[in-house]
């Protein structure tokens, strides 16, 4: 037989099965497009230059890998589904006298054509949407839009094509195995075989309940961000496993209980639905659990990234009450000293003048940050602790004098030498217990006179460690503490931080001239006649740039991956509805013959499908509610503390998702009814 013959049959087959193949082609094209976009964003040197973004490359690369894995799973899933639907067709060829190798030739042509169409469509889609994506990235990162983003790199075109070609080839081989296993006689009988009612798998049920329970428990009870970070992935894993287990066997359990209740079960509306669902869930549990997990994933990704991004300005404003912070330390042999603040102020004023910026206010702050281990209301240095110690008890304390405090806040505390004012700045671990009424530092006991809500010195070290702020009465006490820690830690001891904070009258001008100002200040410091020095110049614009760089990249990735997950969900729903339709057709007809009215049949089947389809959505909502507390803790690490913003973002994301889901459900159920009738 000639090749032309097979390819003709293949084309005809594809045409006949557009209902099955169009979504497959769309899926592959979409995935390839996203893959292309992420890969190109990662490798586009002009873009990373324009953005100066360091996160972009790494996160886009990560995204590429994720999309690759997702494509792998999804395409093989669809392929398996297609094979299942078309088995009888291939079986018929076999019965009509075609050899299996001939069928495989047809299959090869089919695979080749779909693959070529998908890949070409995907590349076109990717190239078209690349410009949009790069514009979106620039917008999100508030970078200037550089003209000429028509970036075309042969490498970023070839790689996705190769990867997806290999993927298609793999799918083809899997199908070949299925064809070789095909026994036409079985095909003819298969429909009549019937199948066993699912049994309750008790061990799985108990494990499922345990996994979900423990996962939720972790989320609800974890208090500190540090623990949240460590336990989050464990909780996610537990909930995923639990979801699968509960979908597989929990549903069977509930339905069997309903069935045992005769009064409930032997009722017109319940009997067909309960026993129908029992079998449906057996077939679909894994798919539905996957939908539930994907849905939860979409919700988590989009709601967190959106709230992080939209909270970026807020975050920077809280952490940077002033525009510029500068501290300089001199190193003279083993002696380290801060350059006094009036000296620093002078440098900044000169540079500001040179750049045409008007200074609104300057505050000087002298602080000392010391690490301790906290034990029973005592702050201990390393030498005071015997034996090993627990990271949980590690505590940083930032000291300032009352004088500095009142200068920065304008408030007087009037504390005595035996008293301190205390503020919890970061609580990473709640092991340290409630705030005591007194603290022992270096053998001296200090009474806590006042609890402060706000500590004027910024300590954003980027570390998730318990951090307290303590205001002491005067310079003498501070230097006592300084000397004590100097003795304990030796060359690792902390130094005073003499820092000034500067505000400019015109914020926009400061942001615009920021780079030049920084350069000027840096040069001036370098030319100071002191030998070796360390300086720390921390500006609000730089912080905003960094945070936007990170969260903007997060958001872009969140949106893209969110869309891909949503798309996958839609696809799984679509194929589910189709396969259900073919399975239900016969059942439908029997019920009508026995004397169930058509609209009744429609109603019971409709309610089963609705229940089955909306179970994942409800599950996702429940997961979201329970995962919320731990997500909030994690966002705290990323410096987002606006709970309301996160709640709103989550609710909106869920609402949008539910609408899309429902719309997809209604569209696909039309196809379902068409098949059934």
């Amino acid at each position: 037989m000639k090749t032309g013959f097979f390819s003709k049959i293949a084309v005809e087959n594809l045409r006949k099965n557009t209902r099955l193949y169009i979504p497959r082609i769309l899926a592959e094209a979409g995935l390839l497009g996203c893959f292309y976009i992420l890969l190109t964003l990662a490798l586009d040197s002009r873009l990373s230059e324009a953005l100066g973004g360091s996160y972009l490359k790494i996160f886009m690369m990560m995204g590429t890998v994720i999309i690759g894995l997702l494509s792998f799973i999804l395409i093989l899933y669809i392929n398996r589904f297609l094979m299942k639907q078309r088995k009888s067709e291939y079986g018929l060829y076999n019965v009509l006298g075609m050899e299996k190798r001939h069928i495989i030739r047809i299959l090869f042509c089919e695979s080749l054509y779909t693959s070529i169409i998908s890949v070409i469509a995907g590349v076109i889609f990717g190239i078209l949407f690349y410009k949009l994506s790069s514009l979106l990235i620039c917008r999100l990162l508030r970078a200037e839009i550089v003209a000429g983003f028509y970036y075309l790199n042969i490498v970023t075109v070839i790689i996705p094509i190769l990867i997806f070609a290999v993927l298609d080839l793999l799918a083809f081989f899997v199908s070949c195995v299925a064809i070789y296993r095909l026994k036409p006689v079985e095909l003819l009988k298969a429909k009549q075989a019937g199948e066993k009612e699912p049994k309750i798998k008790w061990i799985m049920l108990i494990l499922g309940v345990l996994c979900i329970g423990v996962g939720y428990y972790i989320s609800l009870t974890t208090q500190s961000p540090l623990e949240a970070l460590m336990l989050f992935f464990a909780a996610v894993l537990l909930v995923i496993v639990g979801t699968y287990f509960l979908f597989i066997t929990g549903t069977t359990f509930v339905l069997k209980c309903l069935k045992k209740n005769k009064k409930y079960y032997y009722y017109k509306k319940h009997m067909p639905a309960v026993s129908g669902l029992l079998f449906r869930m057996k077939h679909n549990a894994v798919g539905l659990a996957s939908i539930a997990i994907l849905a939860t994933g979409v919700l988590v990704m989009i709601s967190t990234t959106v709230s992080l991004y939209s909270g970026a300005d807020d975050t920077v404003n809280t952490h940077y009450p002033q525009h510029l912070y500068l501290s300089v330390n001199l190193k003279n042999g083993n002696e380290v000293a801060s350059v006094p603040s009036d000296r620093l102020e002078e440098i900044v004023r000169k540079s500001a003048d040179a750049n045409g910026l008007e200074i609104k206010s300057v505050t000087g702050e002298k602080s000392l940050t010391v690490s301790y281990l906290m034990q029973d209301g005592r702050l201990l240095t390393k030498t005071e602790v015997s034996g090993g110690y627990d990271m949980e008890n590690l505590t940083n304390v930032v000291y300032i004098t009352e004088d500095t405090y009142s200068r920065l806040t304008g408030k007087r505390l009037s504390i005595d030498p035996q008293e301190i004012a205390f503020c919890r700045i970061i609580t990473a671990s709640y092991h340290i217990g409630d705030t005591p009424t007194s603290l022992t530092i270096g053998g001296e006991k200090y009474h806590i006179k006042e609890q402060l809500d706000y500590f004027p010195v910024d300590v954003s070290s980027g570390m998730i460690v318990n951090t307290f702020g303590i205001v002491v009465s005067d310079e003498d006490i501070l230097s006592g503490i300084y000397l004590a820690q100097k003795e304990a830690y030796g060359e690792f001891a902390s130094e005073y931080a003499d820092r000034i904070g500067v505000s400019f009258t015109d914020e926009q001008a400061a942001f615009a001239n920021g780079k030049a100002l920084e350069k000027d200040i840096t040069e001036k410091i370098r030319s100071l006649p002191y030998g070796e020095l360390q300086y720390n110049l921390d500006t609000k614009w730089e912080a905003l740039h960094n945070i936007l760089d990170m969260y903007g990249t997060f958001l872009f990735l969140g949106i893209l991956l969110g869309f891909v997950c949503l798309f996958s969900t839609v696809l799984i729903i679509y194929y589910k509805q189709i396969s259900e339709g073919y399975e239900d057709r016969e059942r439908f007809q029997i019920m009508e013959k026995i004397g169930m009215e058509q609209h009744e049949v429609r109603k019971t089947i409709g309610s089963q499908i609705r229940l089955q389809m909306f179970l994942p959505l409800v599950t996702a909502a429940v997961h979201m509610v329970f995962v919320f507390p731990i997500l909030l803790k994690l966002l705290n690490i990323l410096m987002l503390s606006n709970t309301m913003l996160f709640v709103i973002c989550t609710v909106i994301t869920f609402a949008v998702f539910a609408c899309v889901y429902t719309a997809v459900y209604f569209m696909t159920s039309k196809i379902y009814y068409k098949i059934v009738h």
């Binding site: 019937g194 199948e195 009612e197 032997y266 129908g276 079998f279 029997i590 026995i594 004397g595 009215e597």
Partner: protein
């Protein structure tokens, strides 16, 4: 008492593009007495299935009347047709048509559940029927776990449970082996003895020879009928074969 009266029934199918008319039933008239066991025989394409579909109210006649226990089928409203069917007719199909998601018990109870019967009443009705059909031991099994004969018994039980006025059986032995067939025909006889009216469409001479009366349909008309009279099953079998031979060799109507 007459339970079913069919007069001048006609059914014409028109092909989709118009033009061609196919006369499935030309002019069928017959009646069935209460408690009678009637078999309808005919070649493929003779109009048997069309007749059965019309009797089951699954399809509407082009003209003519069907009166079941005093009710004219065409006067039953479309909406209550399914209920009417459920309350007055019992069906036994060639392919059993048991739902594979239900146990035999649930399959048998399904019509009662659909009618909204109380659970208590269901049990009291179920017991005698399944006992007389000999399937009380296997009620909790699923259709795929039992033999074809047992499936068909369950289907008969399902047909009987609503106390229908008429049982319509469409080739009930068609998917059974000879032993199960013989078995099922005994069941039908036994059911008929309790006063149940049965109308059976069949190809099988053996199946038909158990009936009280056999109607032969050819080319859309009732061509011939045989009464059992005093004959035994074997004698009736002989008569039926002779008639079939005659029909096949194209003999004229007697």
């Amino acid at each position: 008492m007459e339970i079913l009266n069919v007069s001048n029934l006609k059914k014409t199918y028109t092909t989709r593009l118009g033009g061609n008319h196919v006369h499935a039933l030309k002019d069928v008239t017959f009646s069935v007495e209460q408690g009678e066991y009637v078999a309808i025989m005919g070649e493929s394409g003779s109009g048997k299935t069309t007749l059965l579909n019309l009797l089951a109210a699954l399809d509407k006649p082009t003209s003519g009347k069907i009166i079941l226990d005093g009710n004219e089928l065409s006067s039953v409203k479309e909406r209550s047709l399914a209920t009417f069917r459920r309350n007055n007719l019992g069906f036994v199909f060639q392919e059993f048509n048991l739902l594979d998601t239900f146990s035999l018990k649930d399959n048998i109870l399904l019509p009662l559940v659909l009618s909204g019967t109380l659970v208590k009443d269901m049990e009291t009705r179920l017991a005698p029927i399944v006992q007389s059909l000999g399937i009380d031991e296997i009620l909790s099994k699923f259709p795929y776990e039992v033999s074809g004969g047992q499936k068909q018994r369950a289907a008969v039980a399902r047909a009987l449970i609503t106390n229908p006025k008429l049982i319509l059986a469409d080739e009930p032995t068609g998917a059974l082996d000879s032993a199960s067939s013989a078995d099922l025909l005994r069941v039908f006889e036994q059911v008929n003895k309790t006063g149940q009216t049965i109308l059976m469409v069949t190809h099988s001479t053996d199946a038909a020879s158990h009936a009280d009366r056999i109607l032969f349909i050819r080319d859309g008309v009732v061509f011939h009928q045989i009464y059992r009279g005093e004959s035994s099953n074997e004698e009736l079998y002989k008569k039926i074969s002779d008639t079939l031979t005659m029909l096949r060799t194209g003999g004229e109507r007697k």
